[in-house]
Amino acid sequence: MELTLKKRKRNTIIPGFSLTLGYTMLYLSIIVLLPLSMIFFNTFSMSWSEFFETISHPRAVASYRLTLSTALAAGLMNVVFGTIIAWVLVRYQFPGKRIVDGLVDLPFALPTAVAGIALATLYAPNGWIGQFFDFKIAYTPLGIIIALTFIGLPFVVRTVQPVLQNLGIEIEEASASLGANRLQTFFKVIFPELIPAVITGFSLAFARALGEYGSVVFIAGNMPMETEITPLIIMTKLEQYDYAGATAIATVMLVASFIFLLIINIIQWYTNRKFNQF
């Protein structure tokens, strides 16, 4: 059966294979692959010591630490609150629910610079929200976490929501009829089903946060060693026409995101295997 299916597909009568494949490859190469290869091309033209010196400069290292820790903190915030919001949107009825549901997409639709100036103004020491806090939020790492949480929220909500929606009530009924209370049912029956989606949502939000620029620069304060994110280091080097330095830092970011994607894929594969073994 499978063999005949494959054979049929290979001898498909649908036209346009070489046209669409050729166009796809050409466009992909011109817009994405050729430009992206410039990063590695330019990095290889640097000497090893020059490259190492640039990427291990204390200011760069401080920015890696800041970028990673704020992206992680924002990702975890989104995992907790994003999952609660997804739960509330799927399971409960309350007035204004449709509007709230639509609003979750705002970070996808709102330009990052607009979000950036709005959040910076709100969380500034004299802003609507900032004035209620004794400590500074904007222009500190906390401000960066707020901007990254804003950017990442829909990734978690929109990956967990459909999984919750498709979760049949039967398994909860089975759990309840076997004597589990609601808390046990949630942690032992519902939550394991959500884990792969939560991990996917977290990784999408985290990956986006690692490279985010527009929403962060306005609220970060951009103090070297303290609130300077890695994309901003690239930007600063570009403004000083230090293209080699900018490229070296970009290489670190690219390698870091590829390693991260690899780790996430391994975790996904592992959790899928663990929870689908029954």
Partner: protein, 292 residues
């Protein structure tokens, strides 16, 4: 889709399985409203208040200042440039998205998964790096820099640079919406059409396109929103030349850094309106797609 978890004490047990209020199948009202309150509080602090503050700050000094801010020549040229970029970028990425989805979903070939991964690649790359690569390619010291200079073609720090960097950043949007949709729909309808003698293009326009129109529109909307709002990549390649290479987000940045907050938020409010319209259209499409 969502089942009602509201208790209905009067209903007979046999009709409604969740008839009796049981804490084994649903949370107590206390937990329910705690969760709802947490959600609304969180969304207020992170989404609602920022959105409201944009409009309030924009209108702080009255309508006249507002109108003056958005009809300032620099603002108008920023709006015009942003629209120009949209008109070039969105159709180009749409054509690519359709071609890529067609080849990926209608045929089987080696390296298909690699191709899908490569199409998603721009999503994993920082916008700043997206701008950087085009400087390395077309900048004065770039690969084609010398040649472009001799032929008097300017790409970086000019409109072509903005267009191509935006093309990169918004590259996957349409393809990504169409691939899962067309995968689900299979190839039987197209095969029927072709075997009845229709040409490839006729099949695409009369059979495939009506099937994918909502998914396509959805992809276009997302691509459009990102094109209008792209900041990091465009910031790197534009050179920030006022009235020439400033898109709307870059114009907002300049105004904000010059402490012209009211003007910055006035332009920002226009972009927020566009974002709200985008969300409304998106919900409309989802509703339509669900119905069909």
């Amino acid at each position: 889709m969502t089942k009602s978890f509201e208790a209905q004490p009067e209903a007979p047990l046999t009709v409604n399985r969740t008839a009796t209020k049981s804490y084994a199948l649903q949370e107590s009202a206390l937990i329910k409203w705690t969760f709802i309150t947490i959600s609304l509080l969180f969304l207020s602090l992170f989404l609602i208040l920022p959105l409201v503050s944009i409009f309030v700050t924009a209108l702080e000094k009255g309508w006249e200042t507002y109108i003056a801010s958005i009809t300032h020549p620099d603002a108008l040229s920023a709006i015009k440039l942003t629209l120009t970029v949209v008109l070039i970028v969105v159709p180009l990425n749409a054509i690519f998205g359709i071609a890529a989805a067609w080849v990926i979903t209608k045929f089987s070939f080696k390296g298909k998964n690699l191709l899908i991964t490569l199409i998603d690649l721009p999503f994993a790359i920082s916008p700043v790096i997206a701008g950087l690569i085009f400087i390395l390619l077309f900048g004065a010291q770039g690969l084609f820099g010398e040649w472009l200079y001799q032929n008097d073609i300017q790409i970086v720090f000019a409109i072509p640079g903005i267009v191509i960097a935006t093309l990169f950043v918004t590259f996957p949007f349409v393809a990504r919406e169409l691939i899962p949709l067309m995968q689900m729909q299979g190839i039987t309808e197209e095969e029927a059409s072709i075997s009845l003698g229709a040409s490839g293009f006729k099949t695409f326009f009369l059979v495939t396109l009506p099937n994918i129109k909502w998914g396509l529109l959805y992809g276009l909307i997302l691509c459009n929103a990102r094109t209008i709002g792209e900041f990091g990549a465009v910031s790197v390649v534009s050179g920030h030349i006022r009235g020439m290479t400033n898109t709307m987000p870059l114009h907002i940045e300049i105004l904000y850094n010059e402490y012209q907050f009211t003007a910055a938020f006035a332009v920002a409010s226009l972009m927020s309106l566009l974002a709200i319209i985008t969300i409304v259209i998106k919900n409309f499409i989802e509703w339509k797609a669900e119905k069909s």
